[in-house]
């Protein structure tokens, strides 16, 4: 009978597998329900008991991307037969398409603000973390604690002062304002995470680069950055997820030009009755960028979330 410390037994593997699969099912069911609801008809979406097998329709997606007006049979007659598949769907409900909805713009706002603030956070965070890690900064420990302390209250607690500041600075409902706000919220955690990753990189590499004829900045750029890539990628994912999903500030500070998708999606429901499929479709599409971003960076993430504790 062989015994190994590193190789688990068959039973252990089965148990671990079941545990993981069970957990995945529990967390994924709401997600699957959202995706499925997006393809249901409004009637199916609120049916009780809930319907699992249904006839899929793109009505939710059509409603998400269009604004429609109710039309009388005479008006429908006058408009002639529908020319596209999506017009056909709305005609069947007795409505005509009056134009595109605002979902596209709101989604684009989310992309600009989410990725913009993540990029800005990474640039500032990496620079600050590097300085804290490598240079003799006066009051270093106090400053680091102060930076972290900004996360000790829920960000929304300072909503009113921020609202007033934004109004005075003309930052209300602007992309720049939201990018700055999310950067400010994310920066403290980023500095701490990134400092940990940079601390793990032995300073000898930079010293070697200095002696090899490079300047301090070139050593940072050519030697430290590539090695911190894992940490930067996983920190970026955390920041993007926060900025992407943020709801409270977005409701408060944006209403038009810079409104992001999270405050917009619930408003879909009010435009034509309880249109749950359109809301679900909006949520489904909203999930995609973060999923793609995370999948692209997943090999970094797996190593990154150990917070650099394991060295290869």
């Amino acid at each position: 009978m062989s015994f190994s410390v590193t190789e688990p037994s068959r039973g252990t593997k089965w148990f671990a597998g079941l545990l993981v699969v069970g957990y995945a099912i529990i967390t994924l069911i709401p997600l699957l329900w959202i995706v499925a609801t997006g393809f249901k008809s409004p009637t199916d979406s609120i049916a009780y008991p809930p319907i699992v097998v249904f006839e899929p329709t793109l009505e939710g997606y059509v409603n998400l991307f269009t604004d429609r007006t109710r039309a009388t049979p005479e008006m429908l007659e006058a408009a002639g037969p529908p020319t596209t598949w999506y017009e056909e769907i709305t005609r069947n409900r007795g409505t005509v398409i009056s134009g595109p909805s605002r979902y596209g713009e709101r989604f684009l706002n989310s992309v600009i603000i989410g990725f913009g603030s993540t990029a800005l956070t990474m640039i500032l965070g990496t620079a600050a973390a590097y300085a804290f890690s490598r240079f003799r900064v006066p009051l270093k420990d106090d400053l680091l604690f102060f930076i972290l302390s900004t996360r000790m209250m829920p960000p929304i607690a300072v909503a009113i002062p921020i609202f007033l500041m934004f109004r005075n600075l003309g930052l209300n409902d602007t992309h720049l304002g939201m990018i700055l706000l999310y950067t400010a919220v994310n920066l403290s955690l980023s500095v701490w995470l990134l400092k940990g990753f940079i601390d793990e990189i032995p300073i000898e590499y930079e010293e070697a680069a200095l002696i090899d004829g490079y300047t301090r900045f070139q050593a940072f750029y050519k030697v430290v950055l590539p090695q911190a890539a894992t940490g930067i990628a996983s920190t970026a994912i955390f920041c993007l997820i926060f900025a992407w999903n943020e709801y409270a500030f977005a409701v408060l500070l944006t209403s038009g030009t810079a409104q992001t998708a999270p405050p917009f999606i619930p408003t879909i429901i009010g435009t034509s009755g309880k249109d749950w499929p359109a809301v679900a479709a909006g949520a489904t599409i909203f999930l995609v960028p973060v999923m793609v971003f995370t999948v692209l960076l997943r090999k970094h993430l797996l190593r990154g979330i150990t917070f650099g504790a394991v060295r290869k």
């Binding site: 090899d212 490079y214 300047t215």
Partner: protein, 331 residues
């Protein structure tokens, strides 16, 4: 290739004094080995010359140029670190090319290729050039890291125990290789080690450091044959010099408290009886552990000796060293 001069160099890290008033001239084209135990200030001296650390007091000049305020890149030095020296995200080839591609040098690619393959050849790493640096064994990593210094032609090479992580055979090969590279190129090399064999075989000059002070500087032979103190005498020689009370044999100068006897300063077959405590056959020589008037000492005898434990051997000192109470050499 340049002369390196340290003048009154002092450095402290907080309350710890790492170097005190070190003055030393490293002649152009010499191979200088700094010898001393951990904490003696060897690595600190290297870092001062490289520009990674700056002295609190004193001057350093390379090739007659004062180094004050110059960055490592501006000093044109190459350094081999004891560990952690290869860029882990690059291949072996990229590691070797790295210094040649620096903004200081901007070497043309053809020249880079030529130098890299020449150095790889010498260090026997040609077949590993396209491996990731992290996929190498410890010995290979250290050879690449030596190679990264050798691809350049800096004013001074600085090496911090470059051979310490290698196995014995490779160390012996690279000792000879390094020495011949240095002798052929006429490069100035400052080398830190605590391995006395490296010091004896490669150095043209040895600097003995003791707690941040340079206690003796000279040729390896000079330091071996004419040490200034007990400490300097103990740095070189295998087996180590025997330090015994001065009056053990008689004839000591008046202020002497200790007598120092290297194995070859103990004549066997004459003088007073000592007891053989242990016999170590090393193949080419045999070590004798002796007890003389209740004091232990070690000496060397011929390889085929018939002496064994419990035998008596007559010994007497021959031109011994005498040291005073502070450890300084008297005669």
């Amino acid at each position: 290739m340049a002369e390196v001069v340290l003048n009154g160099v002092t450095k402290s890290f907080g309350a710890d004094v790492a170097l005190t008033d070190v003055t030393m001239t490293i002649p152009d084209g010499s191979f200088v080995v700094l010898l001393g135990p951990t904490g003696a200030g060897k690595t600190t001296t290297l870092r001062m010359v490289s520009g990674l650390d700056v002295p609190d007091h004193g001057q350093i000049s390379i090739g007659g140029r004062d180094m004050a305020g110059l960055s490592p890149a501006q000093r044109d030095v190459a350094m081999v670190f004891q560990q952690y020296s290869l860029y882990p995200h690059l291949t072996v080839r990229q590691n070797l090319e790295f210094p040649l591609k620096s903004p200081n040098l901007r070497t043309p690619q053809a020249e880079i290729d030529r130098k890299v393959s020449a150095v790889a050849e010498v260090l026997q790493i040609s077949h590993k050039l396209d491996n990731k640096a992290t996929a190498l064994s410890g010995g290979e990593m250290q050879r690449v890291s030596i190679g990264r210094a050798l691809v350049r032609s800096p004013l001074v090479y600085l090496m911090d125990e470059p051979l310490s992580s290698l196995d014995a055979k490779l160390r012996a090969d690279l000792r000879i290789e390094l020495k011949s590279i240095q002798a052929d190129s006429g490069a100035t090399l400052l080398y830190v080690t605590h391995d006395q064999i490296e010091a004896m075989t490669m150095a043209t000059h040895v600097g003995v450091l003791d707690k941040g002070r340079l206690v003796q500087f000279g040729s390896p032979r000079e330091i071996y044959e004419n040490p200034v103190s007990v400490y300097a005498a103990s740095r070189l020689g295998q087996p180590r010099i025997n330090i015994l009370p001065a009056d053990l044999f008689g004839g000591a100068p008046s202020r002497a408290t200790h007598i120092g006897l290297r194995p070859e300063q103990i004549i066997q077959g004459e003088g007073e009886d000592s007891l053989v405590q242990r016999v170590e056959h090393l193949g080419d020589q045999t070590r004798l552990h002796l007890i003389f008037k209740a004091h232990q000492m070690i000496t060397v005898t011929n390889a085929h000796t018939t002496l064994k434990e419990g035998d008596a051997v007559k010994i007497r000192p021959n031109k011994p060293y005498y040291f005073d109470a502070t450890g300084a050499r008297l005669a």
